[in-house]
Amino acid sequence: MRILSAFLVFCAIFLLVSLGLHSQAQGPPQPTPEQRAAIDRGRTQFQQACGFCHGPDATGARGPDLVRSALVAHDVNGDLIGEVIRNGRPDKGMPALPLTAAQISDISAFLHARSKEAVESSGVPSDYPFEKLLTGHADKGKAYFEGAGGCSRCHSPTGDLAGIAHKYNAIELQAHMLYPDDKPVLATVTLPTGEQFSGIVSHIDDFTVGIRIGDKNGWYRSFPRSEVKLELKDPLAAHRELLPKISQTQMHDLFTYLYSLK
């Protein structure tokens, strides 16, 4: 029996360590289906038993916000939360609640999940809805595209931008609209002999320039900048000029127009 427990503990540790290592590469660990089910049961239970005072999402109402609670932060599997639920806090007007161990465990899973959500609110989810960004007017966006924005000088709704809204999620579509940073800088290098090399910039600083001759598949060659003449053509120059100029309204109109091109 003892050997079996030791073996199970070993397996559990091994599993945790592997999950831990795995999660380092993959971002924060996501709940398992069992944990998710416990969180869902806990949410329902919490809303019924605790939501009236602590708010249905646990951010506080008459009672304190539990997402920011020090007690929840220190709780492990309901050990502290359970004590408060079972005994109440008569001095603060909280009654003891006759919940089962399983219910308390689910509530604590829900509260920890809520704290985790707050911690992870520093990222915009990849499935952020397009609808939230569609606050402009497509017709005004079209006018800006063809007029003041100068977009139509390089882009065409039936050419390079056809179906553009299918290619990215909402946040990335807006980012690519403003600054499509996947466009390489073109360079022409002229040696003192007059010999010329053209290609795309692979490295550039004050001292050297390295280019791939022809295109991104070409051979790399570098030159000391003090000894050559260098001409650069940056396809993103117009976007950089636009960034400080475009208004929030123009940006939202343009996005709404681009979205309509799908």
């Binding site: 951010t59 807006q174 550039i204």
Partner: protein, 529 residues
């Protein structure tokens, strides 16, 4: 005790031999003479910024504009694991530097390890800026927000105290500041809504001497800048991320505080949110607030105001003034009278799009449309800031203030659907590019500009009396610039990034410049004859 003639003769002869300089003199203690903290750094670099002024300027000139081209490697010291973001201390020939969980003592002449201290911890390991020193002791902050006192001689632990509860999201990155018998220590936090504070610790015992809270208590001055009937003020952020500065004559401690929380979602914390994003002047003996100035009232862009408040005395409008200057993360350069807090200059040091002007108190006025929104607000600078924790420098020879500045455009999203907690959104960075800028402290205008390439640099700066400015570009080159005009005098491709702020010292007649690249400390010097 048995009499020994030989021993007697040795004892008698020793003073004579010492006087003749024939015996190697061993220094009994290698601790820090407190007076060294009040002097410009030369043979020592006894605090995070070298001295209390935060200028990151050295009076050393052995390495100078005429010979910097012959700079060579004196030694290198490699560590495994994380990159080096700390500024080393050098005291009596020993160099002390850190990474999260680790302190090393290294021979500052030759780069040999003397000891290594390691303490594994939970908490955010984002960076570690360095140790502080008092007599024979070092002070080190940890990712789980402890302050550890080590014996500088061998790295053994004298005491270990908890500054804050890491389970709540506190961690520590900063190098404390020693003022007399106060170890002034700050704390960090990011994703959880916890209040910031600064604490003064007794160097002998680890006991708390005083604590200054970023947020006032309800009813105290400043509390009126938070909503009433809400818990916002108790969860308002304002971390004390970076080492402050000190004026011994005025006995005032200057400190910048971090952004309020929730970070991008400000709807639940209407008001200026004092004393977040604020430069405060405190009495270092009591922790009492003397004056304050707020660079970013009601910040919603993560623009903490923790950048070094740099101190210098100079003429302003024809009058000699005691000044304090900060190039702040929000893109504005501020100059204050450090005796009174009177505002003198507010000027953007980078093209910014969030402020429509400056109010009567010298604070930028935020445009409502630059507030993060569900559909996105395009703003310069992005949340990483127009500058950040990397050290600026003030050079008394040219009278110029140098800042590592960024052009940085971001779209800020407020993604909150319920009560905002944590960040409440994020910005998507579009484009960043970095430049070294020299500012005229009298106007804030850019005197010269030196481009260092696309991306966000976090390289700090050092100026020296050798008419040099040391830093790095974004392509792996260390560079030395002429502080008067920004021209490059020396460069070397190191194949990695300067992620820390350089420092310098002179030992045995040789000047060393320490430039950490990724996980290696490099000591440069002139060739030995």
């Amino acid at each position: 005790m048995k009499f020994s003639l030989a021993k007697f003769l040795r004892l008698m002869a020793m003073p004579l031999l010492l006087a003749l300089g024939l015996l190697p003199v061993r220094v009994a203690g290698q601790g820090l003479d407190p007076a060294a903290l009040l002097k410009p750094p030369t043979d020592n670099w006894p605090s995070y910024n070298g001295d209390y002024t935060g200028r990151r300027h050295s009076a050393l000139d052995q390495i100078n504009a005429s010979n910097v081209n012959s700079l060579t490697l004196a030694w290198a010291f490699r560590i495994r694991g994380s990159v080096i973001k700390s500024t080393p201390l050098v005291v009596n020939g020993v160099l002390y530097f850190t990474t999260p969980d680790n302190v090393w003592a290294v021979d500052a002449h030759y780069g040999h390890q003397i000891w290594h201290y390691h303490r594994a911890s939970e908490g955010d390991h984002i960076g570690q800026r360095g140790v502080a020193m008092y007599k024979d002791y070092l002070f080190f902050e940890t990712p789980d927000a402890h302050l550890i006192c080590l014996n500088a001689k061998d790295g053994t632990v004298r005491w270990d105290v908890q500054l804050a509860d890491s389970k709540l999201g506190y961690f520590s990155t900063m190098a404390p500041l020693v003022i007399r018998d106060h170890v002034i220590s700050g704390v960090s936090g990011d994703v959880t809504d916890i209040p910031g504070f600064l604490v003064s610790i007794d160097p002998e015992t680890g006991a708390v001497q005083w604590r200054w809270n970023t947020q006032p208590k309800p009813g105290e001055p400043g509390s009126e800048t938070w909503p009433k009937d809400s818990d916002a003020i108790r969860h308002g952020g304002g971390m004390t991320w970076m080492t402050g500065t000190y004026d011994p004559a005025l006995n005032l401690l200057y400190w910048g505080t971090g952004n309020p929380n929730p970070v991008l979602a400000g709807e639940g914390r209407s008001g200026d949110n004092l004393f977040t994003c604020t430069i405060v002047a405190l009495n270092p003996d009591t922790g009492k607030l003397v004056w304050y100035f707020q660079p970013s009232p009601h910040d919603v862009h993560d623009w903490d105001a923790v950048q070094t408040p740099v101190l210098f005395d100079a003429d302003f409008k024809g009058k000699p003034r005691k000044l304090l200057a900060q190039a702040s993360r929000n893109g504005f350069f501020f100059v204050l009278d450090r005796e009174t807090g009177e505002h003198l200059v507010t000027e953007p040091f980078i093209e910014q799009t969030w402020a429509s002007g400056v109010d009567q108190r010298g604070r930028p006025i935020a445009k409502p449309e630059a507030t993060p929104s569900p559909d996105g607000a395009l703003v310069s600078p992005g949340s990483d800031g127009a500058t950040n924790w990397m050290a600026p420098s003030f050079d008394p020879q040219t009278g110029l203030f140098f800042v590592n500045a960024r052009r940085l455009f971001s779209v800020y999203y407020n993604t909150v659907t319920t009560k905002a907690e944590g960040w409440g959104g994020r910005d998507r960075i579009l484009w960043a590019n970095s430049t070294i800028r020299a500012l005229d402290y009298r106007t804030g205008k850019v005197v010269w500009n030196h481009e260092i390439g696309d991306g966000e640099s976090i390289a700090g700066m050092l100026t020296t009396a050798g008419r040099l400015l040391f830093t790095a570009d974004n392509s792996g080159n260390l560079i030395a610039l002429n502080p008067a005009n920004g021209e490059t005098l020396w460069h070397l491709n190191m194949g990695g990034e300067l992620l820390a702020s350089p420092m310098t010292y002179q030992l045995g007649g040789r000047q060393y410049v320490i430039l950490p690249i990724d996980n290696v400390l490099y000591a440069f010097a002139l060739p030995q004859k």
